[in-house]
Symmetry: C2
Subunit: 352 residues, 2 copies
């Protein structure tokens, strides 16, 4: 995993692209299974090993990117697996267990990440900074085609792509964005947005996806239905009708805070900056919350600091990254000290 240096920015933290003040990243994921092999939950160990071999050979041979890394998850130390979770390259489930499972990832951009033997034989993910689902969809389609030209997928003319879980049958597509909604949170409108998202059949999840809490007002929003619509329809509707609306809500909430409650907003964002610059102990959740406010301060022009500082810290404050930077296992209390120290260093460099 030499390509994955902790200091390098993950794609979703680049803060580039359309609407990147609100949308940190766009992601499309496809669920695919090989014809002639049982689904992962029915597969014996032998089958899984066989699937791994097929996947490795065909993915690496498909010319998906200038450099594709192959990772046998079983050979990776736990800390490295957690680093992959924190970089949003694998699911938390994929980091656990001792069944044969793998990961192919494009290096150094980490835009392509393909989990092998997670819930399906392949979970293909393509990710880009900012709101760019149409581009992402075009890219992942190309990746999908290239893999399919080497191997047969399990496909039914009636249902479409077959998947281990019926909710993914059909296109097997899931479209999601990571958004930052601090103004909606501050103005107490988040619940309203959640309700309207649910009404539009969107799922809102926390920073680490399924089952995780929202950390620092970062949320993953994804489509729920994959059946009965074309992939293009799904992507276009999601981007144009769903997400654009949420972006407008958040931007509107930011303008209103600036206009009507400017001092309260300044107080929040500068206190957050003051605590980050001075604390000697920082829990991950608190660091996220404070970084979220500073991000809002930079977005609204109240704080004059490079966004890169905040983005890098969102990544590095996570437990596994922190330990990788420090090159050692750290107890929880030691992590709080090291996290605070790392944060102070970054803010000192940024303001000098």
């Amino acid at each position: 995993m030499s390509g994955m240096t902790p200091g390098a920015g993950a794609e979703w933290l680049k803060n580039e692209g359309f609407c990147c003040d609100v949308v940190m990243s766009s992601r499309v994921r496809l669920a695919r299974n090989f014809a002639g092999y049982p689904f992962v939950n029915k597969a014996r160990r032998d089958d899984r090993v066989q699937i791994m071999r097929v996947a490795e050979r065909h993915i690496l041979g498909a010319g998906l990117a200038p450099e594709m890394l192959w990772v046998d998850m079983g050979e990776l130390p736990e800390i490295e697996r957690l680093v992959l979770v924190e970089r949003h390259l694998i699911s938390t489930q994929h980091a656990k267990g001792d069944e044969p499972r793998g990961l192919a990832v494009s290096s150094p951009d980490e835009r392509i990440a393909i989990m092998v033997n997670e819930e399906d034989h392949l979970r293909i993910q393509y990710m880009r900074s900012g709101l760019s689902l149409t581009d992402v969809f075009r890219e992942i389609n190309d990746i999908d085609d290239r893999i399919e030209s080497h191997i047969d997928y399990a496909f039914s003319p009636r249902f479409g792509y077959l998947t281990a879980c019926p909710t993914n049958v059909g296109t097997g597509i899931r479209v999601s964005v990571m958004v930052h909604l601090p103004a909606l949170k501050l103005s107490g409108e988040l619940e309203k947005v959640r309700r309207s998202a649910r009404a539009m059949n969107l799922a809102i999840r926390g920073f680490y996806g399924e089952g995780s809490e929202a950390a620092g007002d970062f949320f993953q929003i994804s489509n729920q239905t994959t059946l009965g619509k074309s992939e293009e329809q799904i992507v276009t509707e999601f981007e144009q009708e769903r997400i654009r609306g949420i972006i407008q809500y958040e931007r509107h909430a930011r303008s209103r805070l600036l206009e009507k409650r400017r001092v309260m907003l300044e107080d929040k964002v500068f206190r957050a900056l003051g605590t980050l610059r001075h604390a000697r102990l920082l829990r991950a959740e608190e660091a996220f919350e404070l970084l979220s406010y500073v991000r809002l301060g930079i977005s609204t022009g109240l704080i004059d600091l490079p966004m890169e500082t905040v983005n890098r810290l969102v990544l590095l404050c996570q437990p596994a990254h922190l330990q990788k930077v420090q090159r050692k296992d750290l107890s929880q209390s030691r992590r709080r000290i090291e996290r605070a120290s790392l944060v102070r260093q970054h803010f000192e460099q940024a303001s000098s």
Copy 2:
């Protein structure tokens, strides 16, 4: 009240003298009444006016200090009366009501403050920075003698000095210190100290005395009994046996925090500093609490800033002082903005 400029340090904020890391100030107060006049609570308006005249003439004529100011409380705007409360020169009761009442105060040191027509005809206070009750007692004795050489006090050979409230009969003395006990608070030992103080017949009160809450871990500790002991006994016992013990407790708690929980302590004091340096809105109570931590940080050598900055801010963050500095009436929300701005300015000046 030209002598009372808000920026000037009150005696109790000078941070000079013995044990001034814990004891901010020492104070002795005497309750005295003139012979031949009814107690204040029994006095008619005419009597009170008469008492005022007698007091003004004899106090100003007694040569107590190079300059003594005389204040007719009825002529003072409310804001100025509150400034006197905040400087610990008069009680909150003395600031209220419309009965004739006065104040004599030495200028510019404010060590002597004599309330006229508070609960007793005279409440004579002498205050010094640090732990110096023996000196304070010598000074107030001299003041008492000088006044008594001009006018007869109400005195009974059997009971001693007569006072409006029986708890003050006898010596009419109350001895008190303002202490800063942040380490005992942080280490959760404050309740233990309170209990042992009660057992020693001491009263522990908040920052503004009777009935007030503790603000920022500043407490007033005073003796409770005045009957049956000589004044010297009272002062010596209070200083040598009572207060020295509490000072040792607090210093010990500080050493232990530095030794055993240094990072937690650093985190507390630097977060407080960070918030004071960055906040845009500050309530008075929060400002006190944060200044208290910074004071602890300076005392323990963790923070390198002049103590004067903290002391002046403890004074200026109070509502009436804040409005006097700004030279206008301020709404509560406006005060929070101005307080935060004042605090930032002082810390910027201090670190440049």
